[in-house]
């Protein structure tokens, strides 16, 4: 096996790299860039919501169709070009090989191809903003016949239809799925085949488990959507009628295919970030992760349930009302494994010896915000209340309280935690804490009051509420302004992070200080900082689970996975 000594050209080392760490960073950087695009779109339409019709600084006047396109693309970008690359591909690539104690992915070249297909998908998406007619503006759920029947891009010419905003969006999503599938297959094959000696399934860190479960959920659920998207593309470019009721098609078919994927997708995004919490909380509580094995079983249960709840997005869509009870019960049931996982995380803190470091603050902030997001789901899981709340800002606020902590708090927790390992440099902790408090405060400022707007009947995707007497009144319009101001400040707060990132990267490497700064027990901390191509000088051997902190009778409160000694596994049976 080739080890860390060989020299590579800049081109092979940083651009067309097959090194899982470089690919992970490429995915993460691409995710950050796309988050900038998605955030800028959010700024534009949030400004418009607070001050409808006024010229927007750095942009200008926002036309109604642009508004539709921007809310649509904001959702698409944040889910598929920020959440997925950062949480699934970024973390998966960075962490899986090194945490299971191997040199690289099972298929490094496929891995490189995966990133470059993803890169092309992002370019296709960005291109769609500049084609005639503009980017796709039919909502991120792309419900036909609006997205299919020529309502957005009325063009009989095949090539013009193919290069319309709608078709480019479908192509971009399809390419993105191809990239994620390649990555997912790589993760699963690598985890099954390339674990270090002694790294049994139940000695793997939770984040590795969860990245694999997330990849499997993605693979199981994406097939029907790819088929559905192909039909949507045909409806658009060659004029088929799969979703056209006048020609025997059915728009509800798309809703089923979309949500059969769309709901599991939220768990694809959630599980990797929960895995990050599972790595961070034990380290800074100096305590084993509470209920390691039950957490894995709960996640597996949630993976099965995740494909049985999709129609709770369709309670008012015209499905048979008798079906709703089944999906309501499914929704209730799937809240149980996730509640169990969060409770186990909280229980990890009890009786610990807690260090409030920057990654720990992001992890705690994640749990606190997700608590609001998760509990407001209780209202929406009830099909009856959903008759009223569906498509209102109550729903929008609910999912921002789940996805924002998930994607951004999860990501920042991971960055502040693993940055020293993968760069050999340290981030400034004071700036990290400032970044945390600003983000936490302004996120709540952006969203919390909008729960009230939603409960008062404010419906989604409207660029100007002046026609609607229930919303065009106080205090709801003031809440819109507060939300917009906080959203702008929330975006500006991220420059603290960027400043911290760039000034820290400009420092010289300190391999000693960054080798294991948190005194952590998993394998990545035994490699050099930054780990060379190939990760380990000598392949590690694993003797125990990943969270053996504060073992009674030991002087050192961290019993690393690769130190010879007892396994403690006789303690681990429920």
């Amino acid at each position: 096996m080739e080890m860390s000594t060989h020299q590579q050209s800049f081109w092979n080392k940083y651009i067309f790299s097959t090194d899982h760490k470089v690919i992970g960073m490429q995915y993460s950087i691409m995710g950050i860039i796309m988050a900038g695009v998605g955030g800028f779109l959010a700024y534009i339409f949030r400004y418009n919501l607070a001050y409808p019709g006024q010229s927007i600084p750095l942009f200008g006047h926002l036309a109604p169709l642009q508004y539709n396109a921007f809310v649509t693309c904001h959702g698409m970008i944040m889910v598929f070009w920020v959440g997925m690359p950062i949480l699934l591909s970024g973390l998966g690539n960075l962490l899986i090989p090194i945490m299971i104690g191997t040199d690289d992915m099972a298929f490094p070249t496929v891995n490189m191809l995966s990133f470059w297909i993803f890169f092309v998908s992002a370019l296709v998406l960005l291109t769609s903003f500049f084609v005639p007619g503009g980017a796709f503006g039919g909502g991120w759920t792309m419900y036909p016949p609006f997205s299919a029947g020529g309502y957005l891009n009325r063009n009989p010419d095949f090539f013009k239809a193919l290069f319309s905003g709608t078709s480019l969006m479908i192509l971009a999503v399809a390419l993105e799925f191809v990239a994620m599938l390649m990555g997912g297959i790589n993760f699963v094959v690598t985890t099954i085949n390339k674990r270090a000696k002694g790294m049994t399934a139940f000695r793997m860190p939770i984040v590795v488990w969860f990245l694999n479960i997330a990849s499997l959920i993605f693979m199981f659920s994406v097939g029907p959507l790819v088929a559905g998207a192909f039909m949507l593309l045909l409806d658009n470019v060659v004029g088929t009628g799969f979703y056209d009721p006048n020609r025997g098609g059915d728009p509800i078919l798309w809703e089923h295919l979309f949500w059969f994927f769309g709901h599991p997708e939220v768990y694809v995004l959630l599980l990797p970030a929960l895995g990050v919490l599972a790595e961070i909380l034990p380290v800074f509580a100096r305590k084993p992760l509470f209920a390691y094995k039950p957490i894995i079983y709960l996640a597996l249960v949630s993976a099965v349930l995740s494909v049985l709840v999709w129609a709770h997005h369709q309670f008012v869509s015209g499905i048979d009302p008798r079906m709703a009870t089944f999906f309501s019960i499914g929704t209730i049931l799937i809240s149980i494994p996730f509640a169990g996982i969060f409770l186990s995380f909280m229980a990890t803190l009890w009786g610990g010896s807690i260090r409030m470091t920057v990654p720990m603050m992001w992890a705690i902030g994640f749990i606190a915000l997700f608590l609001i997001g998760g509990l407001t789901g209780l209202f929406l899981g009830s099909n009856t209340f959903d008759i009223y709340a569906h498509d209102t800002y109550f729903v929008v606020t609910h999912f921002h309280y789940t996805l924002f902590p998930d994607v951004f708090f999860g990501f920042f927790a991971a960055v502040y935690f693993w940055f020293p390992k993968f760069t050999g440099k340290t981030l400034n902790a004071a700036l990290g804490k400032l970044h945390f408090w600003c983000t936490f405060f302004f996120f709540n400022g952006t969203w919390f009051l909008l729960f009230f707007n939603g409960l008062h009947g404010q419906h989604r995707r409207i660029n100007d509420y002046s026609s609607f007497s229930l919303i065009n009144m106080e205090p709801y319009m003031t809440f819109e302004k507060i939300s917009t101001i906080c959203a702008i400040l929330l975006i500006l707060s991220q420059f603290i992070f960027l400043y911290n990132l760039f000034t820290s990267l400009a420092k010289t490497k300190n391999p000693e200080l960054t080798k294991n700064p948190w005194h952590s027990a998993t394998l990545e901390w035994t490699a050099d900082s930054p780990p060379p191509h190939g990760n380990f000088k000598v392949y590690p051997e694993v003797y125990r689970g990943p969270y053996e902190y504060s073992v009674p009778g030991e002087v050192d409160d961290c019993y690393a996975q690769n130190v010879p000694g007892p396994s403690f596994e006789n303690n681990e049976n429920l």
């Binding site: 508004y67 509580a285 209730i332 009890w350 009786g351 009856t384 209340f385 409960l455």
Partner: protein, 232 residues
């Protein structure tokens, strides 16, 4: 500040009550969870608690606390489901007695209202169709108004917030729903599915009137249309 817009329907209060009941469970869960999260951050800081306890949580002795919490959550979920189920059935199925039939057809970008004409039956030659932006659907108060919801083009959403009723209008399907408004007034109907450039302007009204006023309105509507061929 009122949380919900004024409820004017027979079933709307049940949805509001469901919200308040759920809120009780949610607030209990929120306060307990927040305590469980924040208490150790104060109590078990490194300065207070230099040595952590070794608890794996894999034994039932410890894990039972999580199970108890999960059972409590599941229990409150099923209480909510039990309470709401009758309301769901009431709203989503037809009332025993339909007093008024109307047709509502969504299109880009307004709702078209079809009155059944003097015979009271939709789909006959004497139907009267009103197709205007910002027009009002006249209905009598305290009557079960049953409507057939359709769409001419794309998916729209029919949302009458003051009755708490929402239903997507799907092309190719006829969906039958009902409401019974108990108070005179003019209420917004808004479209809740993104449907194009004027989605934000897609707003009509329901004008709920006393029986007399409603009869007066339909009489003059039908007599004005009696000499024309119905345009359905």
């Amino acid at each position: 500040m009122q949380i919900f817009p004024e409820n004017v329907s027979t079933y709307g209060q049940k949805i509001d009550d469901l919200f308040w009941l759920t809120l009780v469970f949610v607030m209990i869960a929120f306060v307990v969870s927040l305590f469980v999260l924040l208490y150790p951050l104060i109590k078990n800081r490194q300065s207070n608690s230099p040595k952590a306890q070794y608890v794996t949580g894999n034994k039932m002795k410890n894990f039972k606390w999580v199970l108890i919490a999960l059972i409590a959550l599941l229990g409150s979920d099923f209480v909510i489901l039990y309470v709401e189920h009758d309301t769901w059935t009431e709203i989503e199925s037809l009332p025993a007695k339909a007093d008024v039939h109307v047709g509502i057809t969504a299109r880009q970008w307004n709702f078209i209202f079809t009155y059944p004409g003097p015979d009271g039956i939709l789909g006959t030659a004497d139907d009267v169709v009103i197709d205007e932006m910002n027009s009002s659907l006249h209905v009598p108060i305290n009557k079960n108004v049953v409507f057939e919801l359709r769409s001419q083009d794309v998916i729209h959403g029919f949302f009458l917030a003051n009755t708490r009723l929402k239903q997507d209008a799907v092309p190719g399907r006829t969906i039958i729903r009902w409401f019974n408004i108990t108070k005179e007034g003019k209420y917004d109907i808004s479209c809740t599915q993104i449907c194009g450039i004027l989605h934000s302007k897609m707003r009509n009204f329901v004008l709920a009137e006393s029986d007399d006023k409603y009869k007066h309105f339909t009489d003059s509507l039908y007599s004005a249309n009696s000499h024309k061929t119905a345009s359905n």
